[in-house]
């Protein structure tokens, strides 16, 4: 059994309620931090823990906190990012469903560390149940003196509010999220200035992911140094991985960073292997935005070392032969999956979700979708494949926010590793044209396996 420090208590009945949570050691980190530690000491522990942001970018959390403009006379804000809309990612929802007070506890300690007296949890609007769960948890914490004025008799006061989004993936990007929280369209802001200096209402603001803020609880309980011993190298601690696609046991798993991809994929404790005894064709290890890995680069790296579930190992080999840990959205494709169809599907997603502010992203994502649509539907040309690559390259790095890159990378990597499938679609237009949805691969298998063309 791997070590669990976030989800270790979720099997306890009614752990969603304040009383049971508290009776099982909950809110200890609040007592410790508010009564025995200064805010600077809390930040120091988070720095020592090596915790990196769990929302996708993996930026060191302690460092991010230390950028907060403490000289400003404006109020400071902490905003918790619970927008969770990256395809393949459903871990924050799981955490909120199963142990909501862990997030509230983490928010209190983190807000104290940052000197914030008002904290918002921005939840995607579709998660109405989760909004209800959080509101209830907040009310309970209030009633028990863990929120509101003079928490636990200290001079520290805090209010937490849940804010519903309106349905827009881009609002997961932190500056779009702040715009949305101000009641506007979710158009990402130009950076700098970064939110740490000018964030919500122009005030110093930290935006962190749900899982990041929940991890602050074990960090304070164990101490930063102890936390840093969990995991491997610069990937400290545990990570929630949401596993989906063609596997036997889809779901959310807490892993200690550094276990092998092989173990995560095939052991009964986690994914339980590929469904229906099939072989794996591809893996997207960190949510739809990260590069796809072909079968031979999943359990081993190009250097033939075992691939590990860590920031470093998953990105080993750069974009040529690696990918990224990202948000931990682990998407498995079996041998029958159609890479072209999925790439088209993801491009449609990014086109739909582009906020439209910058031309390379607004127009480019549309072009990607259109070209992929025609390849998938049997009206593509061979030159379209290079055209795709060139459109992707023109988006990448030329936009206000990383959604542009996130749209480009899946396309470039799919072509890099699965060019033969794109060519097959073009060259066999008559077959591809009228075949509906997923049945394409079944058809192909009967005649000649898509995998063995090369």
């Amino acid at each position: 059994m791997g070590r669990k420090i976030l989800l270790d208590k979720i099997h306890i009945p009614d752990i969603q309620t304040f009383k049971v949570y508290k009776d099982n050691g909950g809110y200890a980190s609040v007592e410790k931090a508010l009564k025995k530690m200064t805010s600077a000491e809390v930040i120091e522990e988070v720095k020592k823990s090596g915790l990196r942001g769990r929302g996708g970018a993996g930026f060191p959390t302690g460092m991010k906190w230390s950028f907060l403009d403490t000289k400003s006379s404006n109020p400071r804000y902490l905003v918790c990012n619970a927008d969770e809309s990256e395809p393949g990612t459903f871990k924050d929802r799981y955490l909120i469903d199963n142990i909501p007070h862990l997030l509230i506890e983490g928010l209190i300690v983190s807000s104290y560390a940052l000197g914030a007296n008002t904290t918002f949890i921005y939840v995607r609007g579709e998660f109405k149940q989760q909004i209800g769960i959080l509101n209830r948890a907040i009310r309970e914490a209030h009633e028990n003196g863990f929120l509101g004025k003079n928490i636990l008799g200290t001079s520290y006061s805090l209010d937490i509010h849940v804010q519903a989004g309106g349905g827009a993936y881009i609002c997961g990007e932190e500056t779009a999220l702040l715009e949305s929280l101000e009641g506007k369209r979710g158009n990402p802001r130009l950076k700098p200035p970064f939110p740490a200096v000018k964030g919500l209402y122009g005030c110093p603001t930290v935006v962190n992911n749900v899982e990041t803020l929940a991890a602050v609880v074990p960090i304070i309980n164990l101490g930063g140094d102890e936390y840093a011993k969990i995991g491997i190298g610069r990937s400290t601690g545990t990570k929630l991985i949401s596993a989906c696609g063609h596997i036997n046991k889809p779901g959310v798993y807490e892993i200690e960073m550094g276990i092998t991809v092989e173990e995560f994929l095939n052991s009964e404790e986690y994914c339980g292997g590929v469904r229906n005894n099939k072989n794996i064709k591809a893996l997207i290890p960190g949510g739809s935005s990260v590069p796809i890995l072909p079968a031979h680069l999943i359990t081993t790296t190009a250097a033939n070392t075992p691939r590990l579930m860590s920031y470093e190992s998953l990105s080993e080999g750069g974009f040529a032969t690696g990918s990224m840990l990202g948000s931990g959205g682990f998407i498995v494709f079996d041998e029958d999956a159609c890479i072209v169809r999925n790439t088209w599907n993801f491009s449609r997603f990014y086109h739909h979700e582009s906020c439209g502010q910058c031309s390379p992203c607004r127009e480019g994502t549309g072009w990607l979708e259109k070209i992929l649509h025609r390849i998938e539907h049997g009206t593509g040309k061979l030159s379209d494949i290079d055209l795709l690559d060139s459109v992707a390259k023109k988006i990448e790095g030329n936009t206000i926010c990383p959604l542009g890159d996130a749209a480009a990378w899946p396309v470039s990597s799919a072509i890099r590793h699965f060019r033969h499938e794109f060519e097959f679609h073009v060259q066999n237009a008559d077959i591809v044209k009228d075949i509906k949805h997923g049945s394409l691969s079944k058809y192909l298998k009967k005649n000649f396996s898509l995998n063995s063309i090369y």
Binding site: P75, E84, S85, E86, P87, G88, T89, F90, D92, R93, R124, G125, E126, F127, K128, Q129, I131, G132, N135, D159, H161, Q163, A164, G165, G166, G167, A168, Y169, S180, L181, E182, G183, K184, R185, G186, Y201, S242, A243, C244, G245, H246, P250, G251, V252, S288, G329, I331, F333, A337, R341, N342, N345, F346, F349, H352, E353, C355, H437, G438
Partner: protein, 194 residues
């Protein structure tokens, strides 16, 4: 706290056309506005649009949007901008149950496309249409953050997971059977959730 918005007791006098929140709802609306600093009441726009949509007819008509603008003391255009940006706000009339089927990769590769097609056949409408009895609207939406339980759809506040044709049959039949019982568009979650 002193920096918070004061309750505006004149709010109940605001109307646009025939449109007006109930007194109960106004209390909730005022509590939401009070979360934000003075002058930042526009932050309440997204939550209040959710409430308006639920309580004032199931979609955001021009009157409803103008009404929300006057409540928040912002320009109507600021409301239109937001209402047209986010996918959860419906600008046209929708059915009592909005069936939103996830169409994104992880769901699509686990049978989501067939499920959506089946729904269209079952309800005899296309995506973005409403059944003639006004009960169901089908929409195809992007990832609902529940990919491990694919295929997934959301009907109003409820998620439905690991969908099969049999499950769809049951869900739709059950909703049809109880449709006349509850209030239009299941308004209770707003109380609970916002």
């Amino acid at each position: 706290m002193s920096h918070e918005n004061k309750i505006d007791h004149k709010l109940h006098e605001v109307t646009a056309g025939e449109v007006r929140f109930s007194d109960e709802t106004l209390v909730r609306v005022q509590a939401i506005i009070a979360r934000y600093p003075v002058g930042k009441q526009k932050s309440a726009l997204l939550p209040i649009l959710h409430i308006a949509q639920e309580e004032l007819g199931g979609h955001l008509s021009a009157d409803v949007m103008n009404y929300v603008a006057s409540i928040l003391k912002i320009q109507p255009i600021e409301v239109y901008e937001v209402a047209t940006f986010y996918t959860q706000y419906y600008l046209d009339k929708v059915g009592k149950y909005v069936v939103e089927v996830c169409r994104t990769g992880p769901c699509a590769m686990c049978g989501g496309e067939d499920i959506a097609d089946y729904l269209e056949r079952k309800l005899a409408i296309k995506t973005d249409e409403t059944t003639p009895d006004g009960l169901f609207t089908i929409r195809r939406v992007e990832c609902l953050g529940a990919c491990g339980y694919a295929p997934v759809m959301q009907i109003n506040t409820e998620f439905h997971e690991f969908l099969t044709k049999e499950k769809i049959d049951k869900i739709i039949n059950d909703l049809r059977a109880k449709a006349h019982e509850d209030k239009p568009k299941d308004a209770k979650w707003v109380e609970k959730f916002f």
